[in-house]
C-alpha cells in the first residue's frame, strides 16, 4: 500500500499585525468571507459568511479581495518546493498537496520524522500547515483536516477515520444533509451502513470515496511532472553557495546516475538537474540528448555548458539544500562496448558534438537534413532539429554509379533564381545564359531530366533540368520551367551549383 503524506498548508499568511482581516470573494452576486485571520475568528466571524454581516459585526475590518490565480500559483510553488521530499507531488486544490512518500520516508528517519520535517519546513516559510500520513489519498486528506499529525499504520485507515465527523467525507452539502437527517454523525457510523443502501441513496461515487477513505480502495495520484525514470540526489545539511561545491556535487551525482544507468542497462535521453534553494525556489535545467547517454563525463560536460549558457546564471541565493539529477526519460541501450568500427565511433562523436552544440545554442538551432522520398528537388531534404533524427534511418538515394559526376548539387539555392537563357526548341540545353549579371557560355550539357509537378499537391509546371559546364569550368544545375508545347516561352531558373 502506498503511503500518502498529506500536507494541507492553509495558504493564509499570518497577518502582519493582529488586526482582524478577511479575504472576500464574490460568489454569485454576493461577497462572502473567503478566508480570515485568527483575530477575526476570535471576534466571531467565520468562513462563508456574507461580507455585509461581517462588516456589521466588526468595525474596523480590513478586507482584501481574493486572488485565486495567485493562490493557485502559490500552491504550485509550494508543490515545486516539496519536490525535494519526493518526486511525486500532486496538487489537492485549492489548499492541499499530496506527497507520495512510498519508499522515501527512511531518508528522513521514518514517517514521524518526515511529517515533522515537511510541516516544519513549510511552517518556516510562514504558512500554517497541518499534515497526516495514511495509506490512501482521501484518508490522508480527511485526517490532515480533522486529526492533524496522525500517522496511520498500514491497513488501519478504517479505524483511524471512524471517529471523524461526517464533514470529513467531503461529499457536498446535499449528501451531508441527507446523512445528518439519517442521524449519522461520524464516518464510522456511515461506514457501518450497508454499502448497497448508501449507493442507492447517495450514488456510487459516494461509496467509492468512502472505500478510499477507509483504505479499501486506492485512487492513483496524478503526478504534476513526469516522474523521472531514474535519479540521483544529494542533500546538504547546510545550504551550499559555493560554485565549487555545486560543481563537485554535480560531478558525484553524474557518476552516481551513470552507475545506476549502467546497472539498469539504460541510457538517458532527457536529463534534468534540479537545484532546490533553501528559501523554496527551485531551478531546473533540462538537457536533451540525441542518443541514450550513460557516460558521466559527457553528462557533466553538457551540464556545465548549459550552466555557462544560461541567460541568468544559477543564483544560489541563501544556498541550495538539495541538488538532484534526474533521468526524466531513460531508454534501454546496448551495453557500452568499445567498437573498433571507425564509422560507429565517428557517428558517436558526431552525436556528442550535436548534443554539445544543441545545449549551447538551443536544440532548434542545430539542424540536420533528413531525406524525403520525393521527385521534387527542393523537397528532397528537410532540416529538422539534429537531436530528433536518427543517423541510422538516413536513406539518401545514391543515384549514381561510382565514377559518375554528381547528378545534383549538394545544396540548392534557397530559392531558384531566374536567368535569361538561349536554348534550342523544344528541349535543348541552354547555349548561353545570364545569371547575376554575368554571361556564361555553355560548353557541355547533360539532360534534360524531366520532373513533373506533384499534381495532387499544387499547380505548377513540368521542369527540364540540365547539368551544364561553362567555358570557365563552372558547373551549374538549372532548369526550364514549363515545356515549349505547353507554354509559349518558358522561363529559365538557376537552382544550384556543383562545387
Amino acid at each position: 500500500m502506498a503511503r500518502r503524506a498529506k500536507g494541507a498548508p492553509e495558504t493564509k499568511r499570518s497577518a502582519p499585525s493582529d488586526a482582524p482581516l478577511v479575504v472576500s470573494q464574490k460568489i454569485g452576486n454576493a461577497l462572502q468571507v473567503h478566508a480570515l485571520n485568527a483575530s477575526a475568528q476570535r471576534l466571531g466571524l467565520h468562513q462563508g459568511q456574507p461580507l455585509a454581516n461581517a462588516r456589521a459585526m466588526v468595525q474596523p475590518l480590513a478586507i482584501i479581495a481574493a486572488d485565486e490565480k495567485a493562490d493557485a500559483a502559490l500552491l504550485e510553488n509550494i508543490a515545486d518546493w516539496c519536490d525535494r521530499f519526493t518526486p511525486l507531488v500532486t496538487l489537492d486544490a485549492p489548499y492541499g498537496l499530496y506527497l507520495d512518500i512510498t519508499g522515501a520516508a527512511h531518508l528522513f528517519g521514518g514517517e514521524a520524522a518526515m511529517l515533522t520535517a515537511v510541516t516544519q519546513a513549510i511552517m518556516r516559510q510562514g504558512f500554517t500547515v497541518r499534515g497526516a500520513i495514511a495509506g490512501t489519498s482521501l484518508a490522508a486528506h480527511a485526517l490532515a483536516r480533522y486529526a492533524p499529525g496522525v500517522i496511520v499504520p498500514p491497513g488501519s485507515e478504517a479505524k483511524a477515520v471512524a471517529p471523524l465527523p461526517i464533514a470529513a467525507l467531503d461529499c457536498g452539502d446535499k449528501a451531508l444533509r441527507a446523512l445528518r437527517h439519517a442521524g449519522l454523525k461520524t464516518v464510522g457510523a456511515v461506514a457501518e451502513r450497508l454499502h448497497s443502501e448508501l449507493s442507492e441513496r447517495l450514488g456510487k461515487i459516494f461509496v467509492t470515496r468512502l472505500r478510499i477513505l477507509q483504505g479499501a480502495e486506492e485512487q492513483p495520484l496524478q503526478p504534476r511532472r513526469p516522474l523521472p525514470d531514474l535519479m540521483a540526489e544529494q542533500r546538504f545539511a547546510d545550504p551550499v553557495v559555493s560554485m565549487d561545491v555545486i560543481a563537485a556535487s554535480l560531478h558525484s551525482l553524474a557518476q552516481h546516475l551513470s552507475a545506476i544507468l549502467d546497472r539498469e542497462g539504460q541510457g538517458v535521453r532527457l536529463l534534468e538537474a534540479a537545484f532546490f534553494r533553501a528559501d523554496g525556489k527551485v531551478q531546473r535545467l533540462a538537457i536533451k540528448t540525441g542518443e541514450a547517454l550513460r557516460d558521466a563525463d559527457v553528462m557533466l560536460r553538457l551540464l556545465r555548458q548549459k550552466l555557462d549558457a544560461l541567460a541568468d546564471p544559477l543564483d544560489p541565493g541563501f544556498g541550495f539544500d538539495l541538488i538532484r539529477l534526474e533521468a526524466v526519460l531513460a531508454e534501454e541501450t546496448k551495453p557500452a562496448t568499445i567498437s573498433f568500427d571507425t564509422n560507429e565511433n565517428a557517428r558517436r562523436q558526431i552525436g556528442f558534438l550535436i548534443d554539445r552544440l544543441s545545449v549551447r545554442f538551443g536544440d532548434a538551432r542545430v539542424q540536420r537534413f533528413v531525406a524525403q522520398d520525393t521527385h521534387t528537388p527542393e523537397a528532397c531534404g528537410v532540416a529538422v532539429p539534429a537531436q530528433d533524427s536518427d543517423f541510422a534511418q538516413q536513406n539518401w538515394a545514391l543515384k549514381r554509379q561510382a565514377g559518375d559526376p554528381p547528378r545534383r548539387p549538394l545544396r540548392l539555392l534557397e530559392k531558384a533564381e531566374e536567368i535569361s537563357a538561349v536554348a534550342s526548341v523544344p528541349d535543348g540545353p541552354p547555349v548561353r545564359f545570364r545569371w547575376r549579371q554575368c554571361l556564361h557560355n555553355v560548353t557541355r550539357a547533360e539532360g534534360p531530366e524531366r520532373i513533373a509537378i506533384e499534381w495532387w499537391r499544387n499547380a505548377g509546371l513540368t521542369r527540364d533540368y540540365f547539368r551544364v559546364e561553362t567555358e570557365d569550368g563552372q558547373r551549374f544545375w538549372l532548369y526550364r520551367d514549363g515545356l515549349f508545347h505547353q507554354i509559349g516561352a518558358p522561363r529559365w531558373y538557376m537552382h544550384g551549383l556543383f562545387t
Partner: protein, 301 residues
Amino acid sequence: MSYAELAVTTNFSFLRGASHPGDFVEQAKALHYAAIGIADRNTLAGVVRAYEKWKKLEHPPRLLIGARLVFRDGTPDILAYPKDRKAYARLSRLISVGKLRAQKGDCLLDFADLLEYRRGLLLIVMPPAEPATAKPALEKLGVDTWLAASMLYTGEDRRRLRDLKKLSRETGTSLIAVNDALYHHSERRDLQDVVTCIREHLTLEQAGTKLQANAERHLKDAGEMARLFRDAPQAVDETIRFASRISFTLDQLGQRYPREPVPRGKTPDGHLRDLTETGLTWRYPDGVPPDIAALAEKELA
C-alpha cells in the same frame, strides 16, 4: 517516317498500366503507327480487348500479340512476340508453366523456362539500370533477340544510349527503340500514379519516388521518336523490321476441335455403343436387367 511501339503495358498488367488495350490501339492509329504491340506482364489476357477494338477500326496499324516476361531469378524483363501460331502456343505454354508454379494471380518464371520454349519467339530484352548486367542473357538467347533502348527524360538518356549501343555491338544484337508506355496519352499520368499507390498500399503523399518522375511514358509519334533517337536512328527503323518478321494474328486462332480417339472404320456413335455393351456385360455377368437395358438404349438414342 514510321514507327511501331512494342513495349506497351496495359491495365491488364494489374495496377501497372493506366490505359485499356483498346485505347492504345486507337491512339496508335491516330499517330499513324505501322504497328502496335501489346505486351502485358506474364499474361496474354489484354490482347483480346485490343483485337476487338482493332477489328472495328478502319485501316488500323498492325496489331502484334506478345507478353512481357518478368522473371523471378533476376533476369531483366523480356518482351516476347511469337512469329507464328506455333510460337504463340509455346508462349502460352510458357506462361502456364509459370502460373501453375505460383499462387493465384502470380507467375513464377525462370530464365531456363524461356530457353525451353523460345523457338519462334522474337525477344526484346529490356535493359536494367546497369545495362552490362543484361549481357549474359543476351549472349545466351542468341538469334532473334533485340536490345531495347528508351529515351525517358531521366537526365542521362544519351549517356545510357551510348552504353546500350556498345552493349549491342558486343553481343551482336540490334538496338530497338521503345518508349515503355504505361498509358496511351500523357493525361493518364495521374491515373497511373493512383494505381501505383494502390499497388504499393501507399498514399500519394507517401509514394514519393515509387511514382514516375514525369508524364513521358505514353505513345509518341514517329517524328518525336526519331527526334529523341537522333543519336541512333537505326533503332527506330528497327521497330518496322521487327514488326515485319511477325506473321501471327489472332484471326489464326479458330475453334480447333481435338481429334477423337475412334478406331479406324467406326463412327464415334458406333464406337460408343460398342463400349457401352462391353461395359454392361462386365457389370451384369448374369444377363442385363431389362430396365437397365432400356435406360442404356434411351441414353444412346
